[in-house]
């Protein structure tokens, strides 16, 4: 993308030069970064020992072991139940919230929108941990409930509880698609229904939501698929009860045989991919459908908000309940835990107040490094990532050849691999691929893994920016003789600048929140808060976990505040 690359382009202009050197390079690097680690996992799954062990043999023993293990089937069952259940919760609720926010005159609703989106920007690890300290058996809210009513009507460490929490925290994923679709829908049909005497609820159920069915279907598949990737939530809430899901089963295999069983883990990972990859393809298919559908608009562009009348109370209660359960409860739990030494029945919190955890965090080089690295990977790393994604975006922008289609599918692949295992595969790459070995204990390793894992998400951001540039602007450039490189640099790139800034902010927040990918890459020098939390949680340093979680929330909050200030759309 440099001057020389552009020069090379100028030498051989023309819209049909399919594989210019820099495009070939972009495709090659992307393919290597995506397929390298994945093929390593595939290879490992057909071995009997770690691939670097001289005693390894090729065989399907790993799959035989996994399929014969009753825990695997239990984990698969739980994953299915949780995924299905959370989809059934998240989709209707997300759709209703989107309807309320987009189509009705609920007072003060703009103030709520960032709050609705918060759960999708806070690390699930942090949220789950927040639920434990807030609403666990001796959580702050549980103890208060017991003092007030003599008992708390909830338990946290069960499959239904995990399903509800997972469902609620994935409402934003549905909300963003549903509200985007609702935005592009004219309000005339709704008004017609209102005139015919339908209540706002009836309008939502019979008119608006059926019209955005393709988007809802798409987000349903998305949520269902995310259910198979849940890791932080079942790790924190399910583990003590022995409730396994696929990803925690995989994590458990690390030690089940006493020594690392990479082949078993790889086999489980391939099973997960076998489930998720078809879902990713289905999603892609549905997304195309959803886009087509959304273009059917009403005549007039002007939106009219639906008067809610008495239903306003219902809508407000729904919103308040959602925000209370998914944001206020866990975040307040963490904030409290971060400032007390111990907690539980009969502990007077005001006597236990302390700043020790923060003092410790800021005195401990690994933790300060983790905070610094997390900031760095979000800001500088995020900018680099957006630059890379943009390069990939240009490699397929306005080209409809085989290479573009290849890239399209390629960027979807990492989406299907659980972050935990993607991280492990990257550790292997950094250990055994000589040109990269010196970089292993630098934050670069984590950055590369993050960038690859979030490739599909990022590419959607970039390509939606690119799509907004009308082709005639680029064609105008071409008609005066500009080469592709010049068009990209002088016309397209400046036009999507705002979109790229927005992508950067979203990538920043995603990188602040990410945790599972860095678990295996964690080493002195590569600490990030997310992975540090998993490790500290395993080690039981709960007060430090709380303090770091709070710091993490604050970092995300800063990103969110900046995004809101500059009017970045918090959605892709």
């Amino acid at each position: 993308m440099s001057a020389t690359a552009a020069g090379a382009l100028r030498a051989r202009p023309g819209p049909l030069s399919a594989l210019t050197p820099w495009r070939a390079l972009t495709i090659l690097v992307t393919a290597a970064a995506v397929l390298g680690p994945l093929s390593l996992i595939l290879y490992q799954s057909f071995l009997t020992a770690p691939f670097f062990d001289p005693a390894k043999q090729v065989g399907i023993g790993a799959y035989e072991f996994v399929f014969a293990d009753s825990d695997f089937w239990k984990a698969l069952g739980n994953s299915l139940v949780i995924s299905t259940g959370m989809t059934l919760i998240a989709v209707p609720l997300g759709a209703l919230l989107a309807f309320v926010m987009e189509r009705t005159d609920l007072p003060g609703k703009r103030w709520f929108e960032p709050l609705i989106l918060v759960p999708s920007f806070v690390s699930p690890m942090v949220l789950s941990f927040g639920f434990v300290v807030a609403a666990g058996p001796v959580g702050f809210y549980t103890v208060w409930a017991q003092e007030l009513f003599g008992g708390a009507p909830w338990t946290l460490y069960t499959v239904p509880a995990m399903t509800v929490i997972a469902g609620l925290t994935h409402v934003p994923n549905v909300y963003v698609y549903a509200s985007a679709a609702l935005k592009s829908l004219g309000s005339d049909v709704e008004e017609a229904a209102r005139i015919a005497g339908a209540s706002p609820f009836r309008v939502a159920m019979s008119v608006s939501l059926p019209l955005i069915m393709p988007s809802l279907l798409f987000s349903a598949v998305l949520v269902f698929f995310l259910g198979f990737e849940l890791f932080g939530l079942p790790l924190v809430l399910g583990d003590p009860e022995g409730i396994l899901v696929l990803s925690t089963y995989l994590y458990k295999l690390t030690n089940k045989l006493g020594t690392p069983s990479y082949h078993l883990m790889a086999a489980v990972a391939m099973c997960i991919v076998a489930i998720t990859f078809p879902l990713v393809l289905l999603q892609r298919y549905l997304l195309q459908g959803a886009r087509k559908y959304a273009t059917i608009k009403g005549k007039a562009g002007r939106m009219k908000e639906l008067p809610l009348g008495p239903w306003a109370w219902f809508a407000a209660a729904l919103l308040a309940f959602f925000v209370f359960v998914t944001v206020i409860v866990p975040v307040s739990g963490i904030a409290l835990r971060a400032f007390v030494t111990n907690w539980g029945f009969g502990v007077n919190l005001s006597e236990a107040l302390t700043l020790d955890s923060f003092r410790f965090v800021f005195h401990e080089p690994t933790h300060t490094r983790a905070i610094w690295n997390t900031v760095l990977i979000g800001t500088v790393g995020g900018a680099l990532t957006v630059a890379c994604y943009t390069a990939i975006g240009f490699a397929s922008h306005r080209r409809n050849d085989g290479w573009s289609r290849f890239l399209d599918y390629l960027v979807l692949v990492p989406r299907a691999v659980p972050g935990l295992l993607a991280g492990l595969a990257f550790l292997w790459v950094f250990l055994f691929f000589p040109p990269l070995t010196p970089l292993r204990t630098t934050i670069f390793s984590v950055w590369l893994a993050y960038s690859v894992v979030w490739l599909a998400y990022g590419m959607r951001l970039i390509s939606s920016s690119l799509m907004q540039v009308s082709p005639e602007l680029e064609e105008a450039g071409r008609s005066v003789g500009a080469s592709r490189g010049v068009i990209s640099r002088r016309i397209t790139l400046p036009l999507i600048r705002a979109g790229l800034m927005g992508s950067w902010l979203l990538v920043f927040m995603i990188f602040e929140r990410e945790y599972s990918t860095a678990v295996y890459l964690l080493a002195p020098g590569t600490e990030v808060i997310g992975a540090q939390l998993v490790s500290l949680w395993q080690g039981g340093a709960i007060d430090i976990v709380a303090a770091l979680s709070l710091i993490n929330i604050i970092l995300v909050g800063i990103g969110l505040a900046i995004a809101l200030r500059f009017g970045v759309k918090l959605r892709d």
Binding site: P50, F52, D53, G136, P137, V138, D239, P240, E241, G242, K252, T254, N255, K256, L257, G258, T259, P260, S261, T341, N342, W343, G344, F345, G346, V347, F360, E364, T366, L427, W428, L431, F432, T437, Y520, L522, A523, P524, S535, W537, Q538, G539, G540, A541, I542
Partner: protein
């Protein structure tokens, strides 16, 4: 003239003093060369399962003694420690100079596979013979496995004093202890697994205990910290086989947490240390190992680090000697030897895990 003599004399004294600082008493004379080589290497890379915060006093003291040798201390859990070490050895990158882990079996396995450097430490004879494994690996601590309980919610004869008592308490008060008993997840925690294997040797009533675990739907964790937190908060009431070094430290500051050293027998774990065969800084590694085994290092382990000194000739708050005084012959240190790697054979391990699960009955 006279002045010159004094100056020369002082110079000699100073040189002798420096040499004295480098070669501790009782060490072979050529030890100065090891220290010189170590100083040239300039650093020692330690992989350890003991968190950095706890190890801080040792690192600081080592640096006071050898300011030219920087300690690059990396803490991670014992499984990760093992995984990273074998991967680094296989890739020829030899990351760790010194490996220090509570997963005794994994450490011994690595030694048996020839991944450790042989080194006749001048301190090797000062530690108990069960803790010196072929001059390749050394047990450095003496950490008891204990019971923990919530002091506010568990009182009187509900506090188990021995293993049979633990089984009796939970079996006789299933309702009170339902969901409130905790121990290591032996599928995840190598240390927990090792303790249970030892229990089957010393405790004939282990089946009753397992039944009690099953009846009370016990809760399992992979780390000590989680168990301490949950028993302290009252979410759980009793903890079994908890690493005593951590428990006693927390109990000192936390008024909710009680600790019992089982009277019938107390298992003792010893953190195993060895030098990597591919160590890039072998001399610095030797100096570090010698320091940890030395009286000075051990005294710190028995005081500020709060892990119990393994050496008998050390005066400190936490020492093997004091524990032995308290419990007599009922302390059962897990030996640093090949026998503890028996259950690293995956078939044997899975059989054991299967039997353990069966012993719990319906959960």
């Amino acid at each position: 003239m006279r002045k010159d003599v004094i100056a020369a004399g002082l110079a000699v004294l100073a040189a002798a003093g420096a040499a004295f600082a480098q070669v501790p008493p009782g060490y072979p004379a050529d030890y100065a060369q090891v220290v010189a080589a170590a100083r040239k290497e300039g650093k020692v890379v330690v992989y350890s399962a003991l968190d950095t915060k706890a190890a801080q006093p040792l690192i600081r003291d080592f640096n006071a003694l050898y300011p030219d040798i920087k300690v690059e201390y990396n803490d991670m859990n014992s499984t990760e420690l093992y995984n990273r070490f074998i991967a680094e050895v296989a890739s020829g990158q030899g990351g760790a100079d010194v490996m220090w882990s509570s997963a005794m079996d994994l450490q011994v396995k690595l030694v048996d596979e020839g991944k450790a450097l042989s080194y006749k430490s001048p301190e090797g004879a000062k530690i108990p013979s069960w803790a010196n494994y072929k001059d390749q690996a050394w047990g450095t601590t003496y950490e008891p496995a204990v019971f923990i309980y919530n002091k506010r919610l568990v009182t009187g004869d509900e506090i188990p004093q021995d293993h049979a008592g633990f089984a009796k308490v939970i079996n006789s008060k299933v309702d009170k202890f339902k969901g409130k008993v905790t121990t290591y997840d032996i599928e995840k925690s190598g240390v927990g697994f090792m303790f249970v294997v030892q229990d089957t040797k010393y405790f004939p009533g282990i089946k009753d205990l397992e039944r009690g675990f099953g009846a009370t739907s016990y809760k399992v964790y992979s780390s000590t910290g989680n168990m301490l937190e949950k028993v302290s908060s009252g979410e759980h009431l009793l903890g079994y086989n908890v690493l005593g070094s951590y428990a006693l430290v927390r109990a000192k500051k936390d008024p909710n947490l009680g600790v019992v050293l089982p009277k019938d027998y107390t298992l003792v774990l010893s953190r195993v240390m060895f030098i990597g065969k591919q160590a890039k800084n072998p001399n610095a590694a030797k100096v570090f190992v010698d320091y940890i085994l030395s009286q000075r290092g051990q005294k710190l382990i028995g005081s500020d680090v709060e892990l119990f000194a393994v050496r008998d000739d050390v005066e400190a708050e936490y020492t093997a000697a004091k524990l032995k005084q308290q419990l007599g012959s009922n302390v059962k240190p897990i030996p640093v030897s090949s026998e503890i790697t028996e259950y690293l054979d995956s078939k044997k391990r899975l059989d054991f895990l299967g039997q353990w699960k069966a012993g719990l009955g319906t959960r």
